[in-house]
């Protein structure tokens, strides 16, 4: 370590009472976050299972439904999330090296990109569905001839709205947690000896990105 290197956060890794070494503690914590992500896989897995069934049953309507979605906006959103994954990884990188300023900047960039994703969904994509009366329960009145069978096509949009809403809710929760971590970073609590909070938030963020990676081809590119 050079003389000018400032350690941010704890001076040395803090080992909790029930663990013998820091490696054991980190291993246990990592195991715990993956347990949580496994639960998230179950959460979205059920929805993807429903998608698989209805796509198999109504292939024509699923194709017609996907024509109503905007591929350019979907591609932009995918790029935004991929970029946010990169900035999140860079934030973890700088936290591991106690670079507070860059850590805060990259975390801020990640959250801004997340908000951009939500903004695009909220301001461009979903209102367009309302304008075309393609929202089940709230405003379902597609133009005649758009779909082979309106009831079947409704299932596509039910799944579209439920799955993208659940994904967006995860993004909103992520942004909320990220703001808390931003505060922790600003108050210099996270550094090379305490970066697991940022790393595990990164895992959550990357997982939400993985879900979108599957949502994009399954809804927009049928």
């Amino acid at each position: 370590m050079s003389d000018t290197h400032q350690v941010v956060g704890p001076e040395e890794p803090i080992v909790w009472e029930q663990y013998e070494t820091i490696e054991q503690q980190e291993e246990a914590n990592t195991f715990g976050i993956w347990l949580f992500l496994a639960q998230e896989i179950m959460f979205f897995g059920g929805l993807f299972g429903a998608y698989a069934v209805y796509r198999f049953k109504f292939p024509a309507e699923f194709h017609e439904g996907s024509l109503q979605l905007s591929i350019p906006w979907g591609a932009v959103n995918t790029s935004v999330l991929l970029l946010s994954s990169l900035t999140m990884a860079m934030c973890v990188y700088h936290t591991q090296r106690s670079n507070v300023k860059k850590q805060i900047n990259y975390l801020g960039a990640t959250l801004l990109l997340g908000c951009l994703f939500l903004f695009i969904k909220w301001y461009f994509e979903w209102p367009d569905k309302f304008a075309h009366h393609l929202v089940p329960v709230l405003d379902w009145n597609p133009a005649p001839g758009t779909f082979t069978d309106n009831a079947h096509a409704q299932m596509f949009f039910v799944l579209y709205f439920i799955m993208t809403s659940m994904h967006a809710l995860h993004m909103v929760i992520g942004v909320g947690i990220g703001i808390w971590l931003l505060w922790m970073s600003k108050t210099k609590q996270l550094g090379e000896n305490r970066y697991l909070p940022i790393e595990f938030f990164g895992f959550y963020w990357h997982f939400v990105d993985v879900v979108w990676v599957f949502l994009f081809p399954l809804f927009y590119l049928v």
């Binding site: 890794p13 993956w34 992500l37 993807f48 299972g49 698989a52 591609a75 000896n193 990357h206 990676v213």
Partner: protein
């Protein structure tokens, strides 16, 4: 002082992001590519590319490649569970009547009920 965690150089993350961007372009390109007789391959191709993207995100961004075997096992088991869900659910739809009294190939149309 360091916790012994594997620290990766920044360029690994940047290269990974570029690879993912390329795969995203491939996803969109594969959608528009004319497949002709192989139209039925559109979904498998899209899913293979999506699984590749997910693999890169999980291995590099989520550090699973440099993690312990326990972490690798747990990460894989979650997705393996999802595979079981899809496989058995779709089996119910693709093979609905296997082993049922309604599948009497020798005498089609005959009702199994007395």
């Amino acid at each position: 002082m360091s916790t012994g965690h594997q620290l990766l150089p920044a360029r690994v993350y940047v290269i990974n992001a570029l690879v993912l961007g390329g795969l995203m372009l491939l996803t969109v390109g594969a959608y528009y590519a004319p497949l002709g007789r192989f139209e039925f391959l559109a979904l498998p191709i899209a899913m293979v590319i999506a699984i590749l993207k997910a693999t890169f995100i999980i291995l590099i961004f989520m550090n699973v490649k440099y993690s312990s075997s326990l972490t690798k096992l747990f990460a894989a088991s979650g997705f393996f569970w999802f595979l079981i869900l899809i496989a058995f659910t779709m089996a119910d739809f693709l093979l609905p009547e296997l082993g049922s009294p309604y599948l009497d190939l020798a005498s089609p149309g005959k009702s199994p009920l007395p």
